[in-house]
């Protein structure tokens, strides 16, 4: 609840910075297989996404620069978030993550592309 309140008060740029910071922390948590920490970070990311979406004119587009970030987890999570608002760019980013062969992100990107194609995941 406190994190949600902080997100409400944050600027769009601050939310983008939080998204980046959480993505990098997720990468580190995956690296050492710390699933508890990853799950806490996953919840924080969902909150940030929801806050960006709630802003006037849906500010998830502010994450577009992260599609070119050097960290693969950042690119993966930005692309998943952007599927609803910039599907072509998001899809190309997911294809690049999939084709990198870097696990586990490449597997997650492949999973998401398949889910979008078969309709089991509908970006919203």
């Amino acid at each position: 609840m406190m994190a949600q309140a902080q997100n409400h008060a944050a600027s769009v740029q601050e939310l983008v910075e939080r998204f980046l910071s959480v993505s990098l922390a997720q990468y580190d948590a995956l690296y050492v297989v710390d699933t508890r920490k990853y799950n806490r970070l996953f919840t924080r990311m969902v909150d940030i996404r929801n806050e960006l979406k709630r802003r006037e004119a849906d500010q998830r587009r502010a994450l577009l620069p992260l599609l070119d970030h050097p960290n693969i987890q950042v690119r993966l999570k930005a692309a998943i978030t952007l599927l609803a608002v910039a599907p072509d760019l998001a899809r190309k980013a997911l294809e690049r993550v999939r084709d990198s062969g870097i696990l586990p992100q490449s597997a997650d990107a492949e999973d998401m592309l398949e889910a979008v194609d078969n309709g089991s995941y509908v970006p919203s």
Partner: protein
């Protein structure tokens, strides 16, 4: 190789469960075995199932495709869960990664972890998801 190097130096509860109880020589041997098996190419399902039931091998874990947690054991029975059909012998580091994937939140599964998503699914669906992850993790071809 980069993947092996990254994974071989991990220090976390999941990894400690594998390496933590060993003495120093044992740890070096286990690490060497993990690096070796991490370089395995993807195999067919038959190849992955074939060693099940034989002595354990360094660098490998036996993985249950349909999870062996108590709910599944109650629903499907021990004999099906522990059957040869439901187990594959896979590189230990891939096993650690796949187990972690089952436990972490995932957009594709309605923000649930795959394990929670699959909790009320039938055995066929659990098998389908399990084989799919083995394929995408480059364990199964």
């Amino acid at each position: 190789m980069q993947w092996v190097a990254r994974n071989a130096v991990r220090r976390a509860p999941a990894v400690d469960a594998f390496f933590g109880s060993l003495d120093q020589v044992g740890k070096i041997n286990a690490l060497t075995d993990a690096i070796k098996s991490g370089n395995d190419p993807a195999k067919t399902l038959e190849e992955l199932r074939e060693p099940i039931g034989s002595d354990s091998q360094g660098g490998y874990h036996d993985h249950h495709i349909v999870g062996q947690h108590p709910e599944n054991r109650a629903r499907f029975g021990d004999s099906r869960i522990d059957s040869r059909e439901n187990q594959v012998r896979i590189p230990v580091l891939k096993h650690i990664d796949i187990s972690a994937w089952y436990s972490t939140g995932n957009e594709k599964f309605g923000y649930l972890s795959p394990r929670d998503y699959l909790r009320d699914k039938d055995r066929d669906e659990q098998m389908r998801v399990g084989l799919d992850r083995l394929r995408k993790s480059k364990v199964l071809r």
